[in-house]
């Protein structure tokens, strides 16, 4: 999973375009209202917002889990299949590791390829490469129950990477983990993004996480879910330990935090 190009993020072209997407649940709730979003190739976008703002719904709709009630989603630079989805170009990491407990780590990472009809033997190299990327190549034969929460999440990420997707969708992937594991995994995802040039859309409710990871932040507003603010976040520093303790990061957090508070109508929820 390495791309040797010197510049990981070459000329930008839209990867996915959401046009005025609305989503009404069968309960009648308007989960998303008129949301438009153009995702450029190579971006790291955080979808940030209070609970109920539709950020997870937006992510699921991009992934093709559930139809749009109005509007459209286009993939200008992908070949799409009969279900209107880019064939093998997207992967999804859920909040839970979502592993099959009866399969080994190897079997779990094999799944996306198995569903495409690739045998274990033929998929072996890709699976081991994905496991190496997340640092778990020695755990191929372990069962999920033998792993810690953080390691399970890594397996989940390896499974998402094994198809070599262009777009990685992450739905609050580390929300259930402890702070130390979460920081480590954030750094690992950043490294992955830099090394492979993959595009990431990252749903989170953490101001700090979004300010640390992304180069673009989309703040959403609840009831109905819609985009409140959409801005780039550039930094002169390499994102890492140094950045985490820098003044620049502190200011970014403050700015994002203010925008989020604004999106929540200036008052705390609950």
């Amino acid at each position: 999973m390495t791309s040797p190009s010197a510049s990981p993020h070459p000329a930008k072209r839209p990867l996915v375009v959401m046009k005025s997407v609305s989503k009404v649940f069968s309960s009648g709730t308007l989960a998303l209202s008129d949301m438009s979003l153009t995702v450029e190739s190579g971006e790291f976008i955080s979808l940030l917002g209070p609970s109920g703002c539709g950020k997870s719904t937006a992510l699921r709709i991009i992934a093709g889990l559930g139809d749009v009630s109005a509007g459209s989603i286009d993939w200008p630079s992908s070949r799409i299949n009969s279900r209107g989805l880019p064939e093998g170009d997207i992967s999804f990491v859920f909040q839970e590791p979502t592993l099959m407990p009866w399969q080994t780590v190897f079997g779990n990472v094999h799944l996306p390829l198995k569903l495409k009809g690739v045998s274990k033997a033929a998929a072996r190299d890709d699976i081991m490469a994905a496991l190496t990327t997340v640092g778990l190549k020695d755990f191929a034969d372990a069962y999920p129950r033998e792993l810690s929460g953080g390691m399970k999440m890594r397996v989940s990420i390896a499974r998402a990477l094994v198809t070599k997707p262009k777009l990685l969708l992450m739905d609050e992937p580390f929300a259930a983990l402890d702070e130390i594991t979460r920081q480590k995994l954030n750094d690992d995802v950043l490294k992955l993004w830099k090394d492979t040039g993959i595009t990431v859309i990252f749903v989170t409710h953490s101001v700090f996480e979004s300010a640390y990871l992304s180069n673009r932040i989309v703040v959403m507003k609840a009831r109905p879910g819609r985009v409140h603010a959409d801005f780039p976040l550039t930094t002169s520093l390499e994102r890492g330990e140094l950045y985490r303790s820098s003044e620049e990061y502190r200011q970014a957090c403050e700015m994002v935090s203010k925008t989020l508070l604004d999106a929540m109508g200036g008052v705390e929820e609950h």
Binding site: R60, A63, G64, L65, N81, R83, L85, I90, F92, F94, E96, T98, M100, P101, W102, Q103, L111, P112, K114, L115, K116, T133, V134, G135, L136, Y143, P144, R145, S148, G150, M151, R154, T163, D188, K191
Partner: protein
Amino acid sequence: MSDVTTPIPVPKRPWKHRDTALRVIIPVLMVLALLGIWQAIVTINAIPPYILPGPVLVAQSLVKDWGTLFPALMVTTQITLISLALALAGGVGFAVFLVQSRWIETAFYPIAVILQVTPIVAIAPLILIYAPSTQVALLICAFLVAFFPILSNMVQGLKSVDHNLLNLFDLYGASRWQTLLYLKLPASLPYFMTGLRIGGGLALIAAVVAEFAAGSAGAGSGLAFRLLESQYRLNIPRLFAALFMLSVLGVVIFMLTSFIAWLSLHRWHESSLKREN
């Protein structure tokens, strides 16, 4: 990017072997003690064997009547295992069919429930009339009883699949068939094993009860008939011997199904894991 784990020596458990040995010795001693008390009561009170034979007489009877009892045991075993196999195939197949749509389930599940709640002894006479032979009738009875726990457990299992995993399969464009084969069936395995263990025990009970109801006789009859026959002839030691065989058969079926469950689940399922703390 690695969770470095150095192998840590497993703490030795010096009592492990002693524990295992005691686990076998204690029940064996317990059973022997009970047999001893039984024999003592019979001998001291001079209870006649046609009322309560002692365990020694029962053992003698078991050896003496082996030529009669063993074929009967084989017949009962055969009916139990074949009906269990049919119930497994039928239960799993019907469960997969039921969960295909809510309407199918609404239409068919009540029928399965009606079949289950009607006492098998009550419908056995009917089955005897309609079935081409007594053997087939016994098979149908045992099948009907073992079928339902397997069906209801499988339905529960197929419907309890993790929604996120279902989403994941959708996301990767899995076909209905792939989702069934790679997700729903393996996820239902613990439920299936519960059904298997309950069904295995019930199949034996039903095979015996159905034979009582059928009152079949002759060379092809099972242990239940030998029980009745011994009672009519006041051959109580043989009755006890037949009873002993039935118990052993039940225990063997239970151990077999438990072993199969352990084999298929011990690597991954909580029910088969030791708690580590």
